[in-house]
Symmetry: C2
Subunit: 411 residues, 2 copies
């Protein structure tokens, strides 16, 4: 293969341009799915696709595709690169946008170099990945992959009372194509890590081999409220103490093994929440993740057994409610190997890594070989204006995407 | 001494009458200090004092005294019985009112029996014991005992923005007497336990020998917010986990000894409090009580040392703020013994007990021999409409108060 030079400057310039679109009055980046701000971002992306000579196709759930069909017939399965351009509230500029604009840059680079791929290439921007305005998150890619009925997806009601289908029509991105009209040959998503591992351990690149399964629960512990001064320790049924024990059990569960299990209690409330009243009720959430489904189930079972013992020991009653459950995703071993090979060829320090966050790639993995490439996130910060990846790392990631795409498309 | 029969029916009738005064539209008993509801309660109490032939004296902070000065000069130090009639929001009918109305009943009983005490007797109702509307709690008795400057007490601003002095004038209970105009010979306060010990252990009466010291702190733990999915357990600085460890340390501290130390974390908040974000901050309160000052200080020191170790182990920073600190109070051994003797004479099962809650008696103990008598609280419930003590126990407590008062007053 000929060595190709990415136009890293154009990629970075576009990232910063797109990052200025959708700022609110306070200067925060708020490009929620199917909003006016999202329309402005989509319009800019469409203009860049046109500038690169790509054909824009929009499907009925608003997913945008920039198609390059030079050497092949219109029906051939394309190599798809992409991510999303919707954002959280007060977002950074890299999450999602980096993968979309790098995909565009890869195709534009190949095109400008006069190469003729054996397979078509396309870049995708999926609708409502963040899930801030509409539920579920990754709605566009899930619908595209056939995991969610189009009518149900379009009827999704936003946190602001809006209906997704109506909003897509309003902003002009309810397209004519049926979701899934494109059957990808493969999907590769370049993304910032959104975690601290690569930076902390000194890697330039992550070859994402799998994505954690997620188990979300809400736990409610009912004890008995009583006077903090007059109730002897032995006569208490303290819901807060029981919650503290459950929290430490979860931490122990996740750290005791050599496995990458993570467990988090991020949200907790006590009632009546008064300084001199023993808590009658504690409500908290549990976020449990593991790339191995069997191990995730073991962790869930161990926690359930702990809660049963805890209820007896503390004289409290405990109920749980499942909030969300996703099975782990295993990415395509061949693509992962090609990511490692491309990194090695460029002398980049690359490790295999598990994605702790959800991504569009997990939906695409249902219908085609898929994988992801991670670049480091400074201090692991994401969903925050302080989100940052150094330009050198952004260029390195895009160059590896370029090589992997060339291999998959045959050029 | 002649055996005297208390008029238990009149006492119970008055308790229920007073308990209907100060109901809000929802039917809740809300007789906050110096409110219109409090005025109505005070007016009823003043009417009963007049009915009993007592002379009403009100001091400048609104404390009410019903004086019986039959056999002695106006300057002789009286035996003072009493408590308070202000209430919390949605209160029960016993807390405070029982001690005031029983004190009134004791004096009225002695008077109606034609006895002539060697010392005068008086019944007191102290202002703002609950501390719900104005801070601090036990404000009236504290001011009476010289522990709070009158001008400062009158300037106290309520949770509703009102000023105590103005409100006392408005309801007609800013009296002419200087707080402390009366120097009690002794003070005895009859009260419901507000805890479960007497009922749980089958006692009819508690001779309160001391009152716990109270240490209130607010603890703030600062960790680092991070993605719950992408941050390995070993890289976390989880403020919530550190808080859970502190909670369990406190519970261990209180239960490890044979001592009556109690420790409670009643209030806790996590930030940002999101299911998939590691807590950056945990703020919680600590309520630590012990009847022994040295042991209370030991517990405070042990907790401080634990927090220092915890900060290092969890990679978090921890700060504490003292919210309140009261030293334990030792009641008068002679009065406590006379309570036990009176109980024994009536065949009542009586144990010595520590008060876990604060009471006006702890302020009076600064200026005269003082003690308290407890009767059982059903299920330990207090500050709640479900507050209850069976009539038989209420009568037994009042009869013991009668005997103790006779002994102190000499009749």
């Amino acid at each position: 293969m000929t060595a190709l030079a990415m136009n890293a400057e154009r990629l970075l310039a576009r990232l910063h341009t797109l990052g200025q679109i959708g700022r609110d009055k306070a200067g925060r980046l708020v490009r929620l799915a199917a909003s006016d701000a999202d329309k402005a971002g989509r319009d800019q992306l469409a203009a860049w696709m046109a500038e690169a000579g790509l054909e824009l196709a929009v499907d009925a759930i608003g997913n945008m595709f920039g198609l390059w069909r030079e050497a092949t017939g219109p029906e051939a399965a394309p190599v798809l690169l992409g991510s999303h351009i919707d954002s959280v509230i007060d977002a950074g500029i890299y999450d999602g946008c980096y993968g979309v604009l790098a995909g565009l840059e890869v195709i534009q680079t190949l095109k400008e170099a006069g190469l003729r791929p054996a397979r078509p290439l396309a870049v995708a921007a999926f609708t409502n990945e963040e899930g801030v305005r509409y539920a579920p998150d990754m709605l566009g890619s899930l619908t595209f992959a056939g995991g969610l009925d189009l009518a149900v997806a379009l009827a999704s009601v936003g946190t602001d009372g809006s209906v997704l289908g109506a909003e897509l029509s309003r902003i002009g991105y309810a397209g004519p194509h049926a979701p899934g009209f494109l059957r990808p040959h493969a999907y590769v998503e370049l993304h910032i890590e959104q975690g601290p591992v690569l930076e902390r351990e000194g890697w330039q690149l992550g070859a994402v081999e799998n994505l954690q399964g997620i188990s979300w629960q809400r736990v409610t512990i009912d004890g008995v409220a009583n006077h903090a001064g007059t109730t002897p320790m032995a006569m208490r049924r303290d819901a807060g103490i029981a919650a503290a024990r459950a929290m430490l059990f979860l931490r122990g569960l996740a750290t005791a093994s050599n496995h990458p299990t993570v467990a988090t209690v991020g949200s907790l409330a006590l009632e009546p929440n008064a300084i001199n009243v023993i808590p009658a009720r504690a409500t908290f959430t549990v976020d449990l993740r593991d790339p191995d489904e069997a191990r995730l189930q073991q962790a869930e079972a161990a926690f359930a057994a702990h809660l049963a013992a805890l209820a007896a020991e503390e004289g409290v009653s405990i109920s749980t409610e499942r909030l969300a459950r996703f099975q782990p995703v295993l990415f395509d071993a061949g693509i992962v190997a090609s990511i490692e090979a491309a990194a090695a060829a460029r002398g980049l320090r690359c490790r295999r890594i598990t994605s702790g966050a959800g991504h569009d790639a997990q939906m695409l993995a249902r219908i085609c070989p898929a994988a992801m490439i991670f670049v480091p996130s400074a201090e692991g910060i994401s969903h925050n204006p302080r989100e940052h990846t150094p330009p050198r790392d952004l260029a390195a990631g895009a160059n590896v995407l370029l090589e992997v795409a060339r291999g998959l498309a045959g050029c």
